[in-house]
């Protein structure tokens, strides 16, 4: 039982949580207000170790709740600091009131999220109900497939957040346990390269600049509220452009290229397409390879960006497919999956010839999704299952 060796090394075995913590260490933010919650805790635990070991000099503020963590983050960001934090599930729920304010006050805070189901019943395992709950808060939302992407997207996310055309929080999602606690090979970048890539942060109107006093976060009446919201719309629109620009810079610095808004895996000639976020997209690639060997033309579309949602580009990538199945790892009770609704709208808006569109809910509360289960979706599409009802994958009924 011997293995042939073929790949060059220079990889470090770390978990997704540790990968995110390394990105934070290299970015070296000024302030990191934190409150622990499973499965995010190893991110801040590892980061706190780095600070204690003197490998970066961020000020960690241990607060009494996530509501306070985000409040401290907004305060520090307004003061002019570069700020990062991390959370999961109920923690994000408790934070959410202030996340809306962080976005509206244009605080470029990077939030690492270990995706986890929302209570109740209480469950510590992965699904995307936490980040989907926060999708309308005004943050950029990035989803990572594996530990490597979790690391890279933290670094890209920092530049994205702080670009003056954007200036909103960036949430970087990695799947709880599946990625946060799974050890994988990760290519870490040199500290200096990351430092140079993210650069120095200079706040536009720091409160601590007492020579130029400003008022921040005041009451806004009907005469201006609407205009301020419109500016947030523009910020998220600008994030598309900045994301594409950063890909070039990141590729030059790291040799790793994130091309476009999503990864298209064997998609261009596919008859059937799957749309999946995060770690399950990796499992789907394995299934796609198996089905391709049997002659089934199936491909994958894995969005990195969920907010802003790349509707036009996704619709174009799905044009001409016989059928498309959108797999959502979150529910919107009384409606359909959040990503399905986006893609349905995108296809309706941009395509004349529409593929048959299916929606599957999968993986809630950490329900495992192996390749065979994903293959059953392709079989369903081939047998022209009813697309007008919501389907559930791996559910006992």
């Amino acid at each position: 039982m011997r293995l042939a060796v073929e790949h060059p090394n220079k990889l470090t075995l770390i978990t997704g949580a540790e990968a995110a913590a390394h990105a934070m260490r290299q970015i070296n933010p000024d302030v990191v207000p934190v409150y622990p919650i499973t499965p995010q805790t190893p991110i801040i635990e590892t980061f706190a170790q780095f600070v204690a070991d003197g490998r970066c000099d961020s000020e960690i503020i241990n607060v009494e709740s996530e509501h306070s963590a985000m409040s401290a983050a907004v305060g520090a960001s307004c003061a002019g600091a570069r700020v990062m934090t991390a959370t999961s599930s109920q923690g994000l729920a408790l934070m959410l009131e202030i996340v809306y304010i962080a976005a509206a006050m244009r605080c470029p805070i990077v939030i690492a999220v270990g995706s986890r189901a929302l209570s109740g019943p209480i469950n510590i395992h992965c699904d995307h109900s936490d980040s989907m709950m926060a999708r309308d808060a005004g943050c950029v939302q990035l989803f990572a497939e594996n530990a490597q992407e979790a690391y890279d997207l933290m670094i890209i996310g920092q530049r994205l957040a702080e670009d003056r055309r954007v200036l909103v929080p960036v949430m970087v999602m990695q799947d709880g346990f599946t990625i946060t606690h799974s050890a994988e090979p990760v290519a870490l970048l040199p500290d200096e390269a990351v430092k140079e890539f993210v650069g120095e942060y200079e706040a536009l109107y720091p409160l601590l600049d007492t020579d130029h006093p400003t008022t921040q976060g005041p009451f806004v009446l009907p005469d201006y509220y609407f205009e301020l919201k419109r500016q947030q719309v523009d910020a998220l629109e600008a994030a598309r452009t900045v994301w594409l620009e950063l890909q070039q810079d990141f590729a030059e610095m790291s040799g790793r290229r994130y091309e476009g808004f999503f990864e298209a895996y064997k998609l261009s000639d596919a008859d059937y397409a799957l749309v999946i976020l995060s770690s399950t997209a990796g499992t789907a690639k394995v299934m796609i390879d198996r089905l391709r060997r049997k002659g089934v033309k199936v491909g994958l579309l894995k969005p990195w960006l969920f907010r802003p949602f790349p509707a036009k580009e996704i619709a174009q990538a799905l044009e001409g497919k016989r059928a498309v199945a959108v797999l959502d790892r979150a529910l919107s009770f009384g409606s359909w999956g959040p990503m399905y609704l986006e893609i349905s709208a995108a296809i309706g808006r941009y395509l004349r010839e529409k593929p048959v569109l299916y929606n599957y809910i999968y993986g809630l509360g950490g329900r495992d999704t192996p390749p065979d289960l994903i293959a059953s979706v392709v079989t369903d599409m081939q047998s022209e299952l009813d697309p007008t009802v919501l389907h559930y994958l791996g559910l006992r009924e």
């Binding site: 039982m1 293995l3 090394n9 990889l11 075995l13 497939e145 346990f177 994988e184 990796g282 999704t369």
Partner: protein, 184 residues
């Protein structure tokens, strides 16, 4: 791809050895993945951990259903109600058990018809002054896999264990490695 499932009890270091093996294999140039199965974390409760080794990038992010190798760190798990250690184990796979009993006895107990290898890792651990048998079992598995260098495992130890525990664990590793005759 080789998929390994580790069975232990909370606190016996199943997760630790699953990662150390992956780290050592990565040093040899393999693609790897190591992850535990999380439930409510209780000391003494049955736990599982997994290691995947491959020649290509591992994209799977789901559990292991049909392992090639099962390593049982705690012999009491063989008759535990809540866990069946041979579940899904490939017929041509290997069951590696920490027990003073013979492979024939384990076959009768588990009904597994494939290759069974036993070693008294607990006694070996005691003989070198180690508290747990997980590292002895890791040594035995390294022997079985063949293409794992003990020096690489020891480099991984240096990242995991403090100076005091290092020498004991190196001794435990080598005791497990020497207990088996040859790679598969």
């Amino acid at each position: 791809m080789i998929e390994i499932r580790w069975h232990g009890r909370g606190g016996q270091g199943a997760k630790t050895v699953s990662q150390i093996l992956a780290g050592a294999a990565l040093r040899r140039g393999h693609y790897v993945q190591a992850f535990p199965e999380y439930g409510p974390e209780r000391s003494g409760a049955p736990v599982k951990a997994f290691t995947r080794l491959n020649t290509k990038e591992i994209r799977l992010h789901c559990s292991v259903y049909e392992p090639d190798i099962v390593v049982v760190l705690d012999p009491t798990l063989l008759h535990a109600k809540e866990v069946r250690v041979t579940e899904g184990l490939k017929r041509q796979g290997v069951l590696l058990v920490n027990t003073p009993h013979s492979p024939e006895e384990i076959r009768q107990q588990t009904g597994f018809m494939g290759k069974i290898i036993t070693l008294d890792a607990e006694a070996l651990a005691r003989s070198v002054g180690a508290r747990f048998s997980n590292v002895v079992m890791l040594g035995a598995l390294a022997r079985l896999l063949g293409d794992i260098s003990l020096e690489d495992v020891e480099r991984e130890f240096a990242q995991t264990f403090g100076e005091k525990a290092l020498a004991t664990n190196v001794a435990a590793l080598r005791a497990g490695f020497s207990a088996l005759e040859a790679p598969l």
